[in-house]
């Protein structure tokens, strides 16, 4: 029996060699791929072992890691939850990161090159490597006012410092609780995620930057700017009929509620903007031509390109303009014109800043774990949209909107406010979107703001302007003005 026994012994050797070869294949050849597979939570778990940096607003942590005694060493917490959800995003074992947790992940996780020399030092001192902190430009009072203004509606608010581009407030409703997506309980996370997914309007969508909407009459500011650059003045009288027949079409552009803009059928540019006369701006756009309108939209940043603040901002643009009729509709912010609320705030801020557009930014400075500042954002001129002269004329016209026209609900006692309302038709059976963009004080702008309310019905003056007033007031009160 020894001959077959030897063969069995050799067979066993062969089988075990197969095992060893296979293990080599897995642990050496395929190792890299397996290690980095999206389903492999080990790398993530390693990340949870490090103390992740905080996201800070005005000295207060709005996202921070607290030690736990469970398997994942640190738990991510958001003390203000819904208030900053659109900004912070979440940090989930199941669904990955979103918001700043994603955009600033390298720094927060401690793998950013700017932290490397400190990390090296950590290696020798034996300290746990920790992530850096991100200090934001947000103003808590502005953020709070924006969120309370949006209570009960779907919408977004963006507020900027016109002279720097610093984002003072960025709110989106409905919001969600990032704590529930960042817990260590995958089942609860999945349940909450499903609940959010099932919602009528997705709370995870940051409407301030991640989606764009028809701006309606806000766009008349762009058309006005194009006209002023083209030699018009606020006093230039332009045609303002009760109805404007669309070229090569049986359809007409009416005014709001079908009313006449003036008894004479024509009015000054400033009056047309003040009462937001549709027929006047539709005709003005056609008179200026598509190129002028498009160039001015792009000069204000509506070039269809996404950009980072460092959160990614969806592009805004006027879309394709097929013919004269389309141009007429485009000129009153309908048709294919799409704008993010951030873009609206940016237009107001550009007018406020003498026609110079500052690059918007959300991160004021980043700090090493020991709180020393390792980088801070310097305000940067981004675009020269219009001359200071044109900007001043636009400011006068927008002041008139708030003082005498559709934007009266944005008036603040003792403070000059400039602004423009917008009411955008979506479709026949859905309530309109409403907008307001503006800035204050008009003569020395401290804050520019845009308020968007989705499908809220009513007009921009009724729905959105009061929210803008609250936000501007909150900021100016804090600055010792108003």
């Amino acid at each position: 029996m020894n001959a077959p026994l030897r063969r069995v012994a050799i067979s066993v050797l062969v089988l075990f060699t197969l095992l060893i070869v296979n293990v080599n294949y897995i642990q050496v050849v395929r190792a890299e791929k397996l290690r980095n597979d999206r389903g492999n939570t080990r790398v993530l778990a390693e990340e949870y072992d490090r103390e992740r940096g905080s996201i800070v607003v005005a000295g207060k942590e709005i996202a921070l890691s607290v030690p736990t005694d469970d398997r994942l060493t640190y738990l991510r917490q958001y003390p203000d939850g819904e208030l900053y959800a659109g900004v912070t995003g979440y940090y989930s074992v199941v669904y990955g990161n979103a918001g700043l947790e994603r955009a600033e992940n390298d720094l927060l996780a401690g793998s950013d090159p700017r932290l490397v020399f400190r990390r090296l030092a950590d290696l020798f001192t034996g300290r746990d490597p920790a992530g850096g902190n991100v200090e934001l430009t947000l103003d808590p009072a502005v953020q709070q006012a924006a969120m309370s203004g949006l209570e009960g509606v779907t919408g977004a608010v963006v507020a900027l410092d016109p002279s720097t581009g610093a984002i003072l407030g960025m709110a989106s409703t409905p919001s969600y609780d990032p704590n529930q997506l960042s817990s260590h309980d995958p089942q609860a996370i999945r349940a909450y995620w499903d609940q959010l997914s099932a919602a009528d309007r997705d709370p995870r969508l940051n409407r301030a930057i991640s989606d764009n909407f028809p701006p309606g009459s806000l766009f008349k500011v762009i058309v006005s700017a194009a006209a002023l650059e083209d030699g018009y003045t606020p006093e230039t009288v332009i045609p303002a009929p009760q109805e404007l027949p669309l070229p090569n079409s049986s359809r007409v552009i009416p005014n709001f509620n079908g009313s006449a803009c003036s008894s004479s059928g024509e009015q000054s540019l400033i009056d047309a903007l003040t009462i937001s006369c549709n027929t006047a701006f539709a005709q003005l756009g056609m008179d200026l031509g598509e190129d002028r309108v498009r160039e001015m939209a792009e000069a204000f940043g509506m070039d269809g390109e996404t950009f980072d603040i460092p959160l990614q901002v969806e592009g805004s643009s006027i879309g394709e303009v097929e013919d004269e009729a389309a141009l007429a509709q485009t000129s009153i912010g309908q048709r294919d014109v799409r704008m993010t609320p951030l873009q609206a705030a940016l237009i107001a801020a550009t007018v406020a800043n003498d026609g110079v557009q500052m690059r918007p930014y959300l991160v004021d400075q980043v700090q090493a774990p020991d709180l020393t500042v390792i980088d801070s954002t310097q305000p940067e001129e981004w675009r020269d949209a219009v001359s200071a002269d044109v900007a001043n004329q636009l400011t006068e016209m927008m002041k008139s909107v708030v003082d005498n026209g559709s934007g009266r609900a944005a008036r603040i006692p003792g403070v000059e406010v400039a602004g423009k309302t917008g009411t955008a038709q979506v479709s026949a059976d859905v309530p309109d979107h409403t907008w307001f963009m503006g800035f204050a004080p008009a003569d020395d702008p401290k804050i520019a703001v845009a308020v968007f309310v989705a499908n809220g019905g009513g007009t921009g003056g009724e729905r959105s302007a009061p929210i803008a007033r609250q936000v501007m007031e909150a900021y100016l009160d804090g600055q010792g003005e108003g």
Binding site: A3, F16, V28, R42, A45, D70, R71
Partner: protein, 471 residues
């Protein structure tokens, strides 16, 4: 060709044979040292301090192997010196990984303290007790052949019991292979395996002449007579029944494989292997067509990542662990082996591969290889045919089980749900394998003991001679 008097390995009567007990003691000491150091590393890495029971554990584990070693010295002084140390190292490593996973589950949910390592230590203690018991009671392995049919009956009964019991008492995770009484879960299949190997050995020694008879030659192969196909068909049917009624792919494959190899060793007819493989292929094909759970196993084996969130989850997690472990591993306590479901039992090799790396896992595989090859070597040099077949069967049982389990955990073979001998958490498996290795130690003692001619009469199974001179 394998007659006792012609075996060159059999020591001549009167020659002084080194007993090698000192080697065994030293190697056991080494195994204990590695166990204690590994346990300390786990504690220090995860909790930062040694647990208070560390001293007691060290003393306990040392005592275990001292007792086992002394028993070998007294009752099997010529035994192979590598068998016990290989087992000791595997058991120690298993206890360490189980303890490490205990700590991980405590971290996840501090309210649930699942202390499986102490339970496993109790099982190991019972295992060593049985190991000593076997050495004391079975003074000559040939006596076992007298109880071959009794053992066959017990083996069959153990195998059939879970299938006959209501599912509430026998089913865990879809496999009906347990007996659950009073909080204890026993896997009788592990004991059935040993009983059946003993029976196979005795039966095949008895019948091998008949089974080796060839009827005709086809393409150079000497085919057995048709009427001699009975036993192999019976073993095949038995395996199929286990598969059907207990949904236990592993035991089915294990039993049939062991029987086939023993049949081959006994008859030296490779035609039996071909017939067996053919039967296996038929059985496998039919099982694949008929049973959803077999199909699922095969599908997830072919492409586990396609079922990563479902049936393939476990295997994919195992592969992630192995891949993340890489060459050197994350270090004991440094990985996340708890991410693999049932890491303590079925997938303990994945935990070893993740934390000790490729080197650690290959070391474990080589350790099994040492155990198996020493068993097969025992089979080569032992003088009686029954001992040869028994040792070969037991050693191959370990080899086959290790291959099937590790192959499953690493994606080489479909998953079967067998336990990793000595390493994995599970009392039945551990205790049964201690009995198995006790038998190997007993046979190796007989194999290396200087021959004292006609000290014992040749054992008999029925009236058949147990040793037959080959043609």
């Amino acid at each position: 060709m394998a007659g006792p008097s012609t075996d060159p390995r059999a020591p001549a009567a009167g020659t002084a044979v080194p007993k090698r007990r000192g080697t065994e003691a030293a190697l056991l000491g080494f195994a204990v040292l590695i166990t204690v150091v590994a346990q300390s590393i786990v504690d220090l890495t995860i909790t930062g301090s040694l647990r208070p029971e560390m001293a007691a554990f060290s003393a306990w584990i040392t005592a275990l192997w001292v007792v086992a070693h002394l028993a070998v010295r007294k009752w099997a002084p010529y035994a192979d010196p590598l068998l016990l140390p290989a087992v000791a190292l595997l058991v120690g490593l298993g206890l360490t990984v189980i303890h490490r996973l205990d700590l991980a589950s405590e971290q996840v949910d501090s309210t649930v303290t699942r202390e499986d390592a102490p339970v496993q230590l109790v099982w190991a203690t019972l295992g060593v007790a049985l190991f000593v018991g076997v050495l004391v009671i079975v003074r000559d392995h040939r006596t076992l052949s007298r109880y071959a049919y009794t053992l066959a009956l017990i083996g069959m009964a153990l195998l059939a019991l879970p299938a006959l019991l209501p599912s509430s008492l026998s089913e865990v995770n879809g496999a009906k292979i347990w007996i659950r009484v009073a909080g204890f879960s026993i896997q009788p299949g592990e004991f059935a395996k040993i009983c059946l190997v003993v029976f196979f050995a005795a039966y095949l020694v008895d019948k091998r002449d008949v089974l080796a008879l060839a009827s005709r030659k086809v393409a150079g192969l000497e085919l057995p007579r048709g009427r001699d196909l009975g036993p192999v068909l019976l073993a095949w049917v038995l395996s199929i029944l286990v598969l059907v009624f207990e949904r236990d792919l592993g035991s089915s494959l294990l039993l049939f494989g062991i029987f086939l190899v023993m049949l081959y060793v006994a008859t030296e007819r490779s035609s039996w292997l071909l017939i067996g493989v053919g039967l296996f292929a038929v059985g496998a094909l039919v099982a694949y067509q008929l049973f959803g759970h077999v199909q699922q196993r095969v599908d997830t084996w072919l492409d586990p990542f396609a079922y990563r969130d479902g049936a393939g989850y476990q295997l994919v997690q195992s592969l992630f662990g192995l891949g993340t472990g890489g060459l050197f591993g994350a270090g004991l306590g440094g990985g996340r082996p708890d991410q693999v479901p049932v890491a303590k039992s079925d997938f303990i090799a994945a935990a070893v591969g993740e934390e000790l790396g490729l080197f650690g896992l290959v070391a474990v595989i080589v350790l099994y290889l040492v155990l198996v090859e020493r068993g097969l070597r025992t089979s080569l040099i032992v003088r009686d045919a029954f001992g040869k077949l028994l040792a070969a069967g037991l050693a191959f049982a370990v080899a086959w089980q290790v291959f099937v389990v590790l192959g499953g955990v690493t994606g080489l073979l479909p998953l079967t749900g067998l336990t990793t001998p000595f390493l994995a958490y599970g009392g039945s498996s551990l205790v049964a394998n201690f009995v198995l290795v006790a038998l190997l130690v007993r046979i190796s003692d007989a194999a290396r003991r200087p021959a004292t001619p006609h000290a014992t009469p040749p054992p008999r199974l029925g009236e058949a001679p147990t040793e037959v001179v080959q043609q």
